[in-house]
């Protein structure tokens, strides 16, 4: 019997109540090693443990040590396994969606059905397609010893989950998407020792900054070290824990990102590369389903990019949007569009541009051969006063601008290079007070802004991995 099992149950219950409750910015730790420290010591409440007879002892130990234990189950088996998991007293199921890219429409019904049948079980959906957030080099090493050097972009290549998270948000707005990934350990030393601590912090920062929940795989070496009380492992864990705490501040809230670019698509794979590059260039966008486009107002948008085919009424709506000053970009559009009755004002092998009232419609051939150039085109198509956010000295930084309240906005910054950067920011809007906080230095350092017409500029003094800027309006 372990020592924690001798602790009176009432104390454990109280401890669990004091531990963080599920919400946004939630991090679940995947545990695979036989020994596990207590939930109290780790300061987290949720662990994911593989389901199986050989894991029974670990699951029991984790429960006894105060954890809410989740177990991962394939979507096809989730309903059948739910009864057994509920009987075992586990906190919930992580349903691993099938396929290689998100298909939220297909899985929501399944999740709802399991929730209805087992209301006490927490049911989380882990979408496929999550990747280790990282600044990528151009060398790729595979198991055959081949190193490949290539890159589709001119800037440092960043692997991020931002496009995936935003796509998920469209289909299930109240739920934070749950992402997870396998570590990409490239050499013998990393495979032996695990990823650098900064990589854990980056994963937490990305999920937290872009409003997702995260399953974080701890390397076996770190798990063993924590279980054995190894000082170095616990020092790493304290850094991880600080990041988890930093990004748990928004629990229970869903802050809507500010974006004046709409992306109409119902096919993640088709639009992924280009949308990923929009995110990469910090061009604020939000996904719109074709149905939402047909039924909702779009006046707040400055530019709409459509990957999905437009039916007659949607084409009319797009023409109206352009007539009133908007810019529409159609990728591979097929159809007898009304604007095609006039010749384009400009045409080349990739694009035709039509003038439409006060705005314009750009038709691009499909596929987009150069997503980097496309992202730059999108930024150039915006009028200067429509550019919501600009960053300098920030080639490895992704940012997310939220409106928190009528008087405060929040800018989340994530630096994928994990090297300190001095980032220059220009945001649309007048903000009189700027405060900067980081997991490392806490809250808050005042920053002096400058105002230029309807824009505010300031410099973030040091962004290592994660940072948050509080922007106060008068």
């Amino acid at each position: 019997m372990t020592s924690s099992m001798r602790i009176p149950r009432v104390i454990l219950i109280l401890a669990c109540m004091l531990l963080p409750q599920p919400g946004w910015g939630r991090v679940l730790i995947r545990w695979t090693e036989p020994a596990i420290p207590s939930s109290h010591a780790l300061g987290i409440s949720d662990v994911v443990i593989d389901w199986g007879p050989q894991q029974q002892a670990l699951i029991e130990a984790a429960k006894n040590k105060g954890f809410h234990v989740y177990t991962e189950v394939a979507a096809e088996e989730a309903h059948a396994e739910a009864a057994r998991i509920a009987r075992e007293g586990l906190a919930g199921i992580v349903v691993k969606a099938s396929g290689s890219s998100p298909a939220p429409q297909n899985h929501q019904r399944l999740i709802q059905a399991i929730r209805s049948a087992y209301p006490k079980l927490g049911i989380l959906l882990l979408e496929p397609g999550g990747k280790q957030p990282q600044m990528r080099g151009t060398m790729v090493v595979n198991r055959n010893g081949i190193l490949e050097v290539s890159s589709p972009t001119r800037q440092p290549w960043i692997d991020s989950n931002v496009a995936l998270i935003r796509f998920e948000r469209v289909y299930d707005p109240p739920e934070a998407p749950l992402i997870g990934f396998e570590w990409n350990l490239t050499d013998d030393l990393e495979r032996k020792l695990g990823p650098p601590p900064e990589d854990y912090l980056l994963a937490i920062a990305e999920a937290g900054a872009f409003d997702a929940d995260l399953i974080l795989n701890l390397h076996p070496k770190l798990q063993q070290g924590l279980a054995q009380g190894d000082k170095e492992s616990w020092a790493i864990w304290q850094r991880i824990r600080r990041y988890i705490a930093f990004y748990s501040h928004r629990r229970g809230q869903h802050l809507k990102p500010l974006a004046n670019i709409g992306v109409i698509t119902d096919d993640y794979d088709v639009s992924y590369e280009a949308v990923n590059l929009l995110a990469r260039h910090n061009i604020p966008f939000r996904f719109i389903t074709p149905q939402e486009f047909a039924s909702s107002p779009v006046e707040s948008l400055a530019l709409i990019i459509a990957w999905s085919p437009l039916n007659e009424s949607s084409a009319r709506k797009m023409a109206d949007f352009a007539s009133s000053g908007g810019t529409a970009v159609l990728v591979g559009g097929q159809g007898a569009f009304p604007w095609r009755s006039r010749p384009p004002i400009r045409k080349n092998e990739n694009a035709a541009i039509y003038s439409e009232g006060a705005g314009r419609i750009v038709e691009l051939s499909e596929p987009i051969v150069d997503p980097e150039a496309f992202a730059q085109d999108v930024r150039r198509l915006l009028k200067p006063q429509q550019v919501e956010m600009s960053l300098w000295n920030a080639l490895t930084v992704l940012a997310n601008h939220y409106q928190k309240s009528g008087t405060e906005d929040v800018l989340e910054l994530v630096n994928y290079s994990e090297e300190p950067l001095r980032v220059q920011v220009r945001l649309k809007g007048i903000f009189s007070t700027i405060r900067y906080e980081t997991p490392e230095r806490g809250c808050c350092q005042p920053i002096t802004p400058t105002q230029d017409h309807n824009f505010t500029e300031f410099i973030v003094p040091q962004l290592r991995i994660g940072g948050r800027v509080h922007l106060g309006r008068e």
Binding site: M135, G145, I146, L189, A373, R380, L395, R422
Partner: protein, 342 residues
């Protein structure tokens, strides 16, 4: 980041073929890989060594050197030595650190070799074109004329051992077209000082230096940039370097949109679609020469290469037309072999 504005040679698409290495390594050689962001790009070092701990320390030392040079040569960082020089060396000899002096001295070699087509003083024009690109409008003739007076490598005076003076009131230096190469060479020195004998240093894909060869291999096989995707040229590197320059495509909508490489003779972004790859003994040479030869083109550039020892250059057009000149290194067309590998 200013480094990116000019230092962004186009990407080098390479494949380093190490088939058979894994079996040849056994337990003796272990593979170590690390990356580091500096100078607006990602530096990567892959190494083979019996001691992964030693290799790891050596790579950290190499990265430390690169970051040190980034702080010294950054145009974005106002506190960098280069920024200080750019502020205060007009008609006044300013002392600079040895690395900065040497990097500028090396740059001037390529300026002289190219008759001024490679020019580190082109920064005012590059910055102005960059701003114009953001606005989506080209620079006016009057603005170009005004900035033209600020450009000219002949106005940079090197005063040994460590002072530099600008003979122009508005000259500024940007080492973006050569700084990465200089940093790669210093990183290679750092690796050697730790006793490493097999490593590859990659600066964002545009400049690569090979130290020794992978275990059991004659060299590091690198695939060169091929905008035509037909030729698949390769080079086997061993204690030498390759760099590629290519004008970036910047727009799908506007074919007239300008790229990042400025021709000091026309004061405008180069309207060329060729990719040029250069092989030479040092990374500073390949980095400097790749931009130089890109600006010169295959005819004039070919004549220059023939005057230089141990240099090879390959120009490839999107249509698959190629020009190749060499005074030593061999560039191979391994089209069919590589396809069979894949």
């Amino acid at each position: 980041m200013r480094w990116l504005e000019t230092g962004h040679s186009s990407l080098l698409s390479t494949l380093l073929w190490l088939l058979g290495c894994a079996s040849a390594l056994g337990a003796a050689q272990q593979f170590i890989y690390k990356k580091q962001y500096a100078m607006g790009t990602v530096y990567e070092i892959a190494a083979y060594d019996p001691s992964p701990e030693r290799a790891s320390k050596a790579i950290e030392a190499a990265f430390h050197r690169i970051v040190e040079l980034d702080h010294m040569m950054s145009n974005f960082d106002e506190s960098s030595d280069l920024s200080r020089l750019n502020r205060s060396a007009h008609f006044h000899a300013e002392p600079v650190p040895a690395d900065l002096y040497r990097a500028i001295q090396d740059s001037l070699i390529y300026s002289r070799l190219s008759g001024g087509k490679f020019d580190i003083s082109v920064a005012p024009l590059v910055d102005a074109w960059k701003a114009a690109q953001t606005r989506g409008q080209p620079l006016s003739a009057s603005v170009i004329e005004k900035l033209r007076r600020c450009v000219g490598y002949q106005q940079i005076e090197m005063i040994p051992p460590n002072r530099i003076e600008f003979h122009s009131p508005c000259l500024r230096i940007d080492l973006g077209a050569i700084g990465k190469g200089y940093a790669v060479d210093r990183a290679a020195e750092a690796l050697r000082s730790y006793g490493l004998q097999s490593a590859l240093i990659n600066a964002g894909g545009s400049t690569i230096y090979a130290l020794g060869a992978p275990p059991g291999q004659p060299g590091w096989l690198v695939h060169l940039r091929d905008p035509s995707r037909r030729l698949d040229p390769t080079v086997l590197l061993q204690d030498d370097s390759v760099s590629t320059s290519e004008q970036n495509r910047s727009s799908l909508i506007d074919p007239e949109a300008f790229g990042h490489i400025i021709n000091p003779f026309t004061d405008r972004p180069v309207n060329a679609t060729l990719a040029v790859s250069v092989v030479a003994r040092t990374a500073v040479a390949t980095d400097g020469l790749s931009t130089t030869l890109f600006l010169m083109g295959p005819q004039e550039g070919g004549r220059l290469v023939r005057r230089l020892p141990d240099v090879a250059a390959l120009w490839v057009s999107p249509a698959g037309k190629s020009n190749w000149v060499s005074t030593g290194p061999q560039i191979m067309m391994h089209h069919s072999a590589i396809h069979s590998l894949r």
